[in-house]
């Protein structure tokens, strides 16, 4: 701006009230309305809303936290219960399995005993049978020998019983060996 223009353009007085006052009054009002409508109003409302939102979110988070805490406690209690139950079940089944094993062993033992006894009896029977057979054969042989000796046909039926009696009385002890 050149010096000429500065001096050329008219100036209003430095200390005086004039029409500018009215302009400035209107300008101030306009600026106030603009700033209120476009700056302070929306920004304050926005910040208030955000503050409320954040407060609400914090409250929600607190509620959720409390709920989660409650649920956690409940689950922990349930878990503890389940743990106990599981232990009980394991114990029960262990006990049962042990019992069963014991039973099985016992049954097996009993069976073995029975089998042993049977085997023993069988053996005894076989032995007795063998002894009896031997006895029969001996008696037959004896009769044969005797008949050869006496040259006389002994009545087998009559004497067999006699001889058997004799053998069983006399020979029993000998066969025992």
């Amino acid at each position: 701006m050149s010096m000429d223009m500065v001096t050329a353009s008219l100036r209003l007085g430095l200390v005086e009230l004039n029409i500018t006052f009215v302009f400035q009054l209107i300008n101030t009002l306009i600026l106030y309305l603009i700033l209120k409508k476009f700056l302070f109003g929306p920004v304050t409302a926005f910040m208030q809303k955000r503050e409320n939102d954040i407060k609400m979110q914090i409250q929600d988070a607190k509620n959720l936290d409390a709920e989660a805490q409650k649920l956690r406690e409940a689950y922990e209690a349930k878990l503890a219960l389940a743990d106990d139950e599981g232990k009980d079940v394991v114990k029960k089944y262990t006990q049962r399995a042990e019992n069963r094993a014991f039973e099985i062993v016992k049954t097996a033992e009993a069976e073995v005993d029975t089998m042993k006894l049977n085997a023993h009896r069988e053996l005894e029977r076989e032995r007795v049978k063998a002894v009896n057979e031997l006895k029969g054969q001996i008696s037959e042989l004896t009769i044969l020998a005797a008949s050869k000796v006496v040259e006389k046909d002994l009545n087998e039926a009559d004497h067999k019983e006699l001889i058997n009696k004799f053998i069983s009385e006399v020979g029993e002890t000998q066969w025992q060996n």
Partner: protein, 233 residues
């Protein structure tokens, strides 16, 4: 009216009415602030970024200032307080851009201080009732009534002239300084280019425009809040 002195220049006429540069610079400030308000608040996000941070800081500062000085229930004054702070603050530092500060015109400062005065009286009466409010002028002694009235009327005058005086003093000193620096250049170096005007006035600009300007806008705003809330208590 004349072509000499430090008064505001006439920008143009509407009919016979002169429109001074005070008014046109004020229009510029209104335009810039309006544009800023609309642009900065156009798309407010929950997480503030960029311009929104500035706007939020500004608004919450003004809101807190109002709350502290006028109480929570008078928060509705915040836009008015913010308008004063922004308008006076920007007016005072706009000299840095080469414009004549609107606050360097008594019409502007008196307009603002009389607005404050009117608001003070209006809200004093509204809050207390006309009888109770008028009784306040008889305190502490009835014969102090004239003094109280003068004191009350002195508030807007001192408020307006304080701001005006500070700013216009800055304008005058700065223009004297520029003139002197131009003269010095011519005298010492013998050239018509005012070389010394570059750089040297920066320090005084920082004082008169930045420091005194922002300080005065703060003082004006604080006093306004004190007056209005004082009348309502």
């Amino acid at each position: 009216m004349g072509s000499e002195g430090f008064g505001p220049r006439i920008a143009f006429y509407i009919g016979d009415i002169p429109v001074s540069e005070t008014v046109t610079v004020t229009w510029l400030i209104i335009f810039v602030l309006g544009l800023f308000s609309i642009l900065a608040t156009r798309n407010l996000k929950k997480e503030p970024r960029g311009l929104q941070i500035i706007v939020e800081t500004l608004v919450s500062t003004v809101n807190n200032l109002t709350k502290q000085n006028m109480g929570e229930r008078n928060l509705a004054f915040a836009p008015f307080v913010g308008t004063l702070l922004l308008f006076i603050g920007i007016s005072n530092i706009i000299g840095l851009l080469g414009f004549r500060p609107p606050t360097g015109d008594l019409n502007t400062t008196m307009c603002l201080s009389i607005t404050t005065f009117v608001l003070t009286q209006f809200f004093g009466v509204k809050r207390k009732g006309i009888v109770n409010y008028s009784k306040g002028f008889l305190q502490p002694m009835p014969f102090l009534l004239p003094l109280n009235i003068i004191g009350e009327l002195a508030n807007p005058v001192s408020l307006g002239f304080r701001l005006f005086g500070n700013i216009v003093a800055g304008i005058i000193i700065m223009s004297l300084l520029y003139g002197a620096l131009g003269g010095f250049t011519e005298m010492l170096l013998g050239i018509t280019v005012p070389l010394f005007q570059a750089g040297v006035p920066a320090v005084l600009h920082i004082y008169f425009d930045m420091f005194a300007g922002l300080l005065q806008s703060f003082i004006f705003t604080m006093l306004t809040m004190v007056f209005i809330s004082g009348a309502m208590e």
